[in-house]
Amino acid sequence: MADDGAARQLDKEILSPKPGIQSPAEGGGDFQPRIVGFLCNWCSYAGADLAGVTRLKMPPSMVAIRVMCSSRVDPLFVLKAFLAGADGVLVAGCHPGDCHYQTGNYYTRRRFALTLKVLEELGLEANRVRLSWVSASEGGRFAEVVTEFTETIRKAGPNPAKTEVFL
């Protein structure tokens, strides 16, 4: 997957330590969740943009990665981010029925169900991954999703995969 722009960006964004954001393990005090968001270009990315320009309040916890359609998100993208130590992974796309490519997000939904199931069965924290539908006009909803998800993750604490060396 990594000769693909999204994946390269993933490596860079997630793996590089950001100045100012430190995990408690590094003695950084308060836990600031870091979430990777895969946003479809036509709906959710536009929604995020809208939330930004209308200056809606939301935690600065998400690194956005733009994909052309939510169905471009290979479950392995989610896994890679998760194992690299992302505290949460969000996949967001157009509402069912509204996909720019007609049916992409229906496939996304099935694949995401599979992804969740595997994580659940393996006892990995499935609450760290989330699928949400956000349209281009739903700036408010986007802010809500990010805020809510960040809270969930804050409660869950840092992803243990972040410091695991035997994986």
Partner: protein
């Protein structure tokens, strides 16, 4: 869920339908009966070759495509060993083009199911193949071939006769409930049969009947013996806590998984032996998954140390993403693992859950679509929030 053929009970009914009411008996052990049948098929020019497990040396076995009738002496189609998944092998044979000369293919139910999955994945074709299978008592670990096989066979066949479970079987077979082939043209009912003496053959399809027409068999109307099948199904269900128990979600998690795969040497033998891991170039062996020097620096800074080669869990969990929807629970992966990780038990357990979510049983039906390659508009509402 939405999908009509969801429950185990329904799956079970499909299997019962798969065994027809037409049958005949031969007063010979199954392998002999098959050799005779295949020899007549070849004599009459109905098939040009036979694909079956063959003995290739004193203690060695391999699948083989046989075109010379004389070599049929070497086939051992019901010997409980699986050196490779035959579904994967037939995919090699038929990948580029369908076979033109009809051949008889003898394989176990899970191998047939693997083949059907491969057909859906466009890796194999079924044209001109006559499928012969049997109600399957399971296979022994491959290493048994050179380690007391004869002794273990005695015990094995005793269990098959009474619908029991033999200790020496692969773990995946101990819990497999899909031991009645679906999609075979001809099925030998080994389970519940006294296989030392006689063979009962069910003819399940018109194709099967056509092939056998003109041979010396007389078909009678009689249903399969279900009692032993039921007993075996029950006994196998009882094995589940023992085989699957260690993989309860609360036992796994990051700690449990790093412990389970701590001994993994990253050889990927499990994937290469797996019939439904079909890619000629595997994602997990791609250059893109190796660290470049700068990523490495970041990793070292973040973690303080790093296991090399990297990506053990990425491979294992990633492979679960890729194959759990099609895994047929054949046990090849565990059998080839050089450090005895019970991979197949883990994969079979997850396959059960993942496929169950869609009411799917991998390879049960060659026409059914793989759930992730299709969708329904109204479903899984609980997932997108």
């Amino acid at each position: 869920m939405h999908n009509a053929r969801g429950t185990t009970h329904e799956a079970y009914c499909v299997e019962r339908e798969a065994l027809s009411m037409k049958q005949f008996q031969v007063p010979r052990p199954p392998d002999d009966a098959l050799r005779d049948m295949l020899a007549s098929l070849m004599d009459k020019g109905k098939v040009g070759g036979v694909f079956a497990l063959a003995q290739t040396g004193e203690n060695s076995y391999s699948y083989a495509l046989i075109t010379d009738k004389k070599l049929l002496d070497h086939i051992v189609p019901t010997l409980p060993l699986m050196p490779a998944n035959a579904g994967k092998m037939v995919s090699r044979l038929t990948m580029l083009e369908p076979v033109k000369t009809p051949i008889a293919v003898i394989m176990r139910p899970c191998e047939l199911r693997a083949l059907f999955e491969l057909v859906k994945l466009e890796q194999a074709r079924l044209d001109n193949l006559l499928f012969i299978s049997y109600t399957c008592g399971g296979v022994l670990e491959m290493k048994t071939a050179k380690d007391g096989l004869q002794l273990k066979l005695e015990e094995y066949w005793k269990q098959v006769k009474t619908g029991g479970v033999s200790e020496d079987m692969r773990d995946s077979c101990r819990v497999c409930e899909n031991f009645v082939p679906t999609g075979a043209d001809i099925t030998l009912t080994l389970v519940g049969n006294d296989n030392g003496k006689q063979t009962t053959v069910q003819v399940n399809s018109e194709k099967g009947e056509e092939f056998l027409a003109g041979l010396s068999y007389e078909l009678t109307e009689a249903g399969p013996e279900l009692e032993a099948l039921d007993s075996m199904r029950k006994k196998r269900a009882e094995q589940k806590p023992d085989v699957f128990g260690q993989f309860a979600a609360e036992e796994l998690g990051m700690a449990g998984l790093t412990a389970l795969f701590g001994r993994c040497i990253g050889c990927h033998a499990c994937g290469r032996a797996c019939p439904v891991c079909y890619c000629s170039s595997c994602h997990f062996e791609a250059a893109e998954n190796e660290f470049d020097p700068s990523t490495l620096e970041t990793e070292l800074t973040n973690r303080g140390a790093l296991r090399l080669p990297t990506g053990t869990l990425y491979y294992q969990i990633g492979r679960l993403f890729h194959v759990s929807i099609s895994c047929v629970g054949c046990g090849m992966c565990s059998d080839v693992c050089p450090v005895d990780i019970p991979v197949a038990s883990l994969f079979a357990k997850l396959a059960g859950s993942v496929q169950g979510m869609f009411g799917y049983v991998s390879g049960r039906d060659a026409e059914e679509k793989i759930p992730t390659s299709t969708f329904e508009m109204e479903e899984l509402e609980e997932i997108g929030a």
